[in-house]
């Protein structure tokens, strides 16, 4: 069994008090409790404060480009589906720059988890609006306040039949860890949106602001009801529900591709001698 110590990586370069620390601890705990060894996990990240996360864990890492987490993660899973693949991104990374990839990852349904550190602001570039920043919020480059309506990633994912849609809160590490475990063990594309206070640039959505509003979906909540789940995902304001909003059993992408049914692509031996006859088809 792995230990939390084995997952200890580099020293984080985040601001003191950042909500990312609880997310980092929750991921490590989730992996340890699931008995997954560091060499069995690939964490793919983009750019942003969230993008640095895999450096602070010990595991296979691909820290790629801003917005491009999901294409890399999807293809890595197709190449070696024996790896646990977790994609990590911020709200700007996943919902802004990578919005198109997010939409299509939901359609493909690869067996990977997508953890989005949603702090409703751009942290690394110092405080500009993100797709989830509330309408009307003033920033250095939105002097009239944000003119767009904020995006609702959960509602969008549910509307597209994403096979697992959940939301957690960095301030409730225990609950977050359980959601991460559920996402990792779910078969299919699992979106876990994580409310993460940014202590430096977001003075509105603070730990206190969230604590006053969040509540957990109860045992009587049925995540298999599509319409109810959509309705629930619209709830945002004085009350913010957390938990597993939606689950939908769908065929997993890599299980539908004939080439990788017997064994992962990466373990298939190649010899040019075995394919040379291909040229005969052109005579």
């Amino acid at each position: 069994m792995p230990t939390s110590e084995e997952y200890k990586g580099q020293i984080p370069a985040w601001c003191p008090g950042c909500g990312n620390f609880q997310i980092l601890s929750a991921i490590k705990q989730a992996l340890v409790e699931l008995g997954i060894e560091p060499w069995e996990v690939l964490v793919v990240s983009g750019i942003g404060q969230a993008g640095k996360l895999p450096h602070y864990i010990k595991c296979h890492t691909f820290n790629g480009l801003h917005g491009r987490t999901l294409p890399v993660a999807t293809a890595a899973k197709l190449a070696n589906h024996s790896l646990h693949v977790i994609a990590v991104a911020g709200d700007g990374d996943c919902y802004g720059e990578g919005g198109n990839h997010f939409l299509h990852a939901i359609r493909r349904n690869p067996n990977i988890s997508m953890f989005v550190h949603n702090n409703q602001v751009y942290g690394l570039t110092k405080g500009q609006a993100s797709p989830t920043t509330a309408e009307g919020t003033y920033t250095t480059i939105q002097p009239y306040g944000v003119l767009q309506e904020s995006m609702n990633p959960l509602a969008m994912a549910i509307s597209q039949n994403c096979s697992f849609v959940a939301r957690g809160f960095a301030g409730d590490q225990e609950h977050l860890k359980e959601l991460m475990k559920a996402a990792i063990t779910h078969r299919g594309f699992a979106l876990l949106d994580i409310l993460q206070p940014c202590v430096t640039f977001n003075k509105i959505n603070t730990f206190k602001w969230y604590r006053d509003r969040v509540y957990k979906l109860g045992d009587d909540y049925d995540p298999y009801d599509h319409i109810k789940a959509f309705e629930k995902s619209l709830e945002w304001g004085d009350k913010i529900p957390n938990g597993i909003f939606y689950k939908y059993e769908r065929d997993v992408f890599e299980e539908r591709i004939p080439a990788i049914q017997e064994k992962p692509l990466v373990r298939q031996k190649f010899s040019p001698e075995e394919v040379k006859h291909e040229i005969e088809k052109f005579y």
């Binding site: 060894e37 190449a79 298939q268 291909e278």
Partner: protein
Amino acid sequence: MGVKFLEYTLRIGGEAGQGLQTIGGALAKVFSRIGYHVFTHQDYMSRIRGGHNYYQIRFSDQKISASREMVDILLALDLNTIKIARKNVKDGGFILYDSEIAKQKLEEPEFIDIPFRKIALDVGKNSVMANTVATGAALGLLDLGLEALKEILRETFLRKGEEIVQNNIACAEAGYKYALTNCPRCEAFGIREPEEKRRILITGLQAIGVGAIMSGCKFYSAYPMSPSTGIMEYLASRAEEYNLVVEQAEDEIAAINMAIGASFAGVRAMTGTSGGGFALMVEGLSLTGMTETPVVIAEMQRPGPATGFPTRTEQGDLLFILHAGHGEFPRVIFEPGTPKQAFYLTNRAFELAEKYQIPVFIQSDQYLAESEWTFENFGLENLIYNDYRLREEDLKGVTDYKRYKYSSTGISLLAVPGEAGKHLVVADSDEHDEDGHIVEDSETRIKMVHKRLLNKLPLIKKEIEAPLLYGDSSPKIVLVGHGSTYGVIKEVVDTISKDKKVAMLHFSQIYPLPELEMFDYIGLLENADLTICIENNATGQFAKLLKAETGFGFSHQISKYDGRPFTIENLKEELNAYI
């Protein structure tokens, strides 16, 4: 002077959607199977129905490698084709048409009216088979026999049932007989039976696809874009047989990032696109440079800027591909001149990409992509496959694996994540240390620039093979080309070499430029009186590259930028101004 060799050019013209590719493809196969050398090229509009398109086939009992402006037979499927292409029919040539379809009877001697549609209805009970009648008629005009066509019709319609096969064969026979008996001048062709020989008939796109499969490529991700889509179509058609994963990405950004993800995870991966799509891939290209992830990229050029001519040809992206990507990192660019070279260079692209952990380009264009050539063989004995990726058993004795460990060659061990025991593989787009973790210090930065760039460059340069010299070995006139102009320049050199000391210098491995130690091609150019760089672009991009890298300037440049390839006639005409 030897015996004049036999060669004919046949053009099938009509609207998009009339089945030109079916007829052209079948005839090209027939000529190839009978034993002729074949060269075809396609000229079509960016539309699915209507307009004017053509498929041109040249066949000969000698090696051929380009298209002609003037044709012997025009098979016109509509009146518009006659209006547009009549001027391209040689004196003594023929125009096959159906006066019912053209709604006009044409009395001049070159016209042969064949009721394609009526025969199809009478014999095949379906006007759809008019194309089969036309294909048979073209062969009847040449009196080349029907056996090869029957075989091809059987292969093509096998899945649709025996009745369809038999009706098509009957239509081909009827068309053949009609043309043969209604062409009083056809003995003029006097076609000799060719020497029977098995030949491959293949396009540039297919050759790249075959090259990828035989190089162990297991993953191809792309977004459809003319003229590159054929690679994906071909690989998808072989996915089941060779266990390939072929994924249509949501955009080109995803396409290259997927190829990177698959390659990082341990399989040979490739992507393909054209100029506009490649523009979207540029950030990902830079990511391959920083993460040292091997990727092969096919960039099949078409005329730009922006959407340009979607279905036509140009060599306008050379300097773009050369300079694309922010930051400094090594790359290799190959630009094949023939499908056989495309096959060979795709294989080398995979070898070099993995050996040096760099991006390697197969740069080509619509002309080579969609032209069919014949070859006796593909030189499979030259195929190379070295697996540079390391798994658990390969890493025995390595106690502290570092993905970016410094080395004098710049090459660090490329471990497969998850298959390398407990070793962890960490890749980063940030500047990183040997372990792959983010750093900001200048000392590590300098070491990493040496590792991934400066140490590798001289080694990569040594891998690049010399350009091809064809013709006189100490020429006074040198025609220089790169990529798809190979065939036409070669044929032009053949026609003018009788009384001139002329040669072609052709580059198919264009970056890094080949070293001069193995072949001093700059010396050769300097000793010539006339050096002409021939390019399918407006600004002479290869000439600029050569000037920048070697200081050599050409005495003349010939540029063609109308979206069409050079034909033998128009290149000769351009050359007449200088020779």
